[in-house]
Symmetry: C2
Subunit: 355 residues, 2 copies
């Protein structure tokens, strides 16, 4: 391990990342304390609310809460723009909403939060208490990262959201190993650096091969599906202006497979939950039957190949999206940028003017 | 009206369609009778199950049942492949499943139905009682179209599914105008022919302009979102091997908008429900701000422009996907075929071999 630690990670502040990780564990305790307060007060349903990338990010928690939760736990992933026009028939003043906004200004979320607060609904937001959304939520409902060196994928957001959701599960008796999970992940940041180092040459190779492809497919499922959308839409579409097609392993066979042909790269994100069986069906199809140069354009990224020493097997499903996000949304994106020469911060439209 | 009736609809059997429509109203009564039986027996939750196109088709009913349903009505849209590996924590022996399979052989649905029947769950299937799925369901649960001349989009399936779902709503006191709706739609088939005739020149024009585009966007929302996916994935991807990007009006602004540029056609399917406001935001962006030749590649298909004489305004949301499917999945697809010279029945992989 001492050896790999010397390896450089391109455009990445390793020291800052470890510092962030340490601070994040403290912030996670705040999230858990908020969950405890809500468990004490009672609630009828949990709503996970986002737009675009935050919606995608919260999807893994929806998945986990449904996977581990009891039959009576109600969890709904809602899109703020849709909620603003449609509402939700299961939302009452006893409901709880978890949302997030890095900028603190996302207009759809701001509009929703204001209405929710008027309805007397408890809102927890991963956002700065100083921003417009933070002000609408009120400081008591805001959780902000104490330290953020800006390096990384979405794993920090996943960690915080999971601390909240898994703690709620724990309080219902559905995730009795909460404390063990927190204990086993407290130094995971170092492992996530090691995974980056291991993947670094692969990221470079994949970017050189595929970053200029005119159209690329991304297939995912289960706990990884949200991150699959996030990478394809919020990174490659928004930040690289690449044409992508994301599709679940389940639905891949119902239309999209016909687009598989020579020179169409297909990335399969293999997960570690019950949907892995569906991923394997896609993998078998791609490697055995597809009308294309074998292996040439098939990329399987399997989170199971990336160890987290000391982590119990039954926690792997929780960290699988953390692993995927550091591989693709962090590392692969950085290398795509070097090949496409398209700065990840360029936008044609977004935040360029009001619309 | 007498005049328009003489207009030809390309590759379309008008007489057969009206005959199918007449028979379909009878089949709809069977669906309503099944709903009545289930309402009499009681149920804890309704599951709408499909894969690919059938999943997309059932989405409009999920939308309607949530829109009109009371707070305690539980409706879940599930994908058969995912259910086969994950199950659903709210499904019990008191649950009811509505599914569909035109071929009667869809492997994921067959596997699921067998397991569900073993669990003692009531399954209603829009399929032939002779096929493998029909046999697994049992004849008493099967509903098959009495007459099918094969012309049309998905409106026949929408009609039958809606007879079932809206009748269940009626029995809960949530859709008191069920009988009026059935009465007002019993001759809708003639109106749907007239809409086709009106759209025919537009379909030809759109196909000539856009059928050869390498990449096309489709934006939809609300009651039209399922049909949006269905047309982009099951028609254009599967049957025309076209690269498409479908995105909700809500999420369009969170990544995909950056792909809007000159020579990328964007189809906006404007609906007639509360999400229309989100469609209008997309329309305003596309016409006012996008960095492209104005109007050149923006196609707005607005179901509100197609009248159904004698239909109450509050029923428009129900028929809006029926209208869209005849415009695009039926008419536009036929004209795409004439331009691409790609037969809608060709497949590279699907049903070509086992995988």
């Amino acid at each position: 391990m001492a050896e790999t630690e010397k390896v450089e990670i391109m455009n990445f502040d390793q020291e800052g990342y470890l510092e962030d990780g340490k601070a994040l564990v403290e912030t996670g305790k705040q999230m858990a304390a908020m969950a405890d307060k809500i468990a004490d007060e009672g609630y009828d349903a949990i709503f996970l609310m986002g737009v675009g990338g935050t919606w995608d990010e919260l999807m893994q928690l929806e998945y986990l809460m449904n996977k581990f939760g009891d039959k009576d736990l109600e969890v709904y992933l809602i899109h703020a723009a849709e909620w603003n026009v449609s509402g939700h028939k299961r939302m009452t003043e006893k409901s709880v909403v978890l949302t997030a906004s890095e900028s603190g200004t996302t207009p759809e979320v701001l509009e929703a939060v204001k209405k929710m607060k008027e309805m007397g609904i408890r809102v927890i937001a991963m956002t700065s208490p100083e921003g417009p959304i933070g002000q609408a939520v009120g400081a008591e409902g805001c959780v902000k990262m104490a330290s953020d060196h800006g390096s990384g994928g979405c794993e920090k957001g996943y960690y915080l959201a999971d601390c909240f959701g898994l703690r709620l599960l724990y309080r219902r008796g559905c995730f009795p190993k909460y404390d063990l999970f927190i204990e086993q992940t407290k130094d995971i940041w170092k492992d996530l650096l090691d995974i980056r180092k291991k993947f670094e040459p692969k990221a470079e190779e994949l970017a050189k091969k595929y970053a200029l492809a005119p159209y690329t497919m991304f297939v995912g499922s289960g706990a990884l599906w949200g991150e699959t959308i996030l990478f394809a839409m919020c990174i490659l579409e928004e930040m690289q202006w690449k044409r992508t097609r994301y599709i679940t392993s389940a639905d891949f066979f119902h239309g999209t497979l016909e687009l598989v042909e020579k020179d169409v790269p297909v990335f399969l994100f293999k997960g570690e939950d019950e949907c892995r069986k569906l991923d394997e069906r896609v993998e078998a199809f791609l490697t055995n039957f597809a009308d294309r140069t074998k292996d040439e354009d098939i990329v399987v990224i399997d989170t199971a190949e990336y160890a987290i020493p000391g982590l119990d097997d039954d926690f792997r499903v929780i960290v699988s999206p953390w692993i995927l996000t550091i591989l693709v949304t962090d590392r692969l994106a950085r290398y795509y940028e070097t090949v496409t020469k398209h700065n990840l911060k360029y936008r044609r439209y977004y935040h360029q003017f009001d619309y």
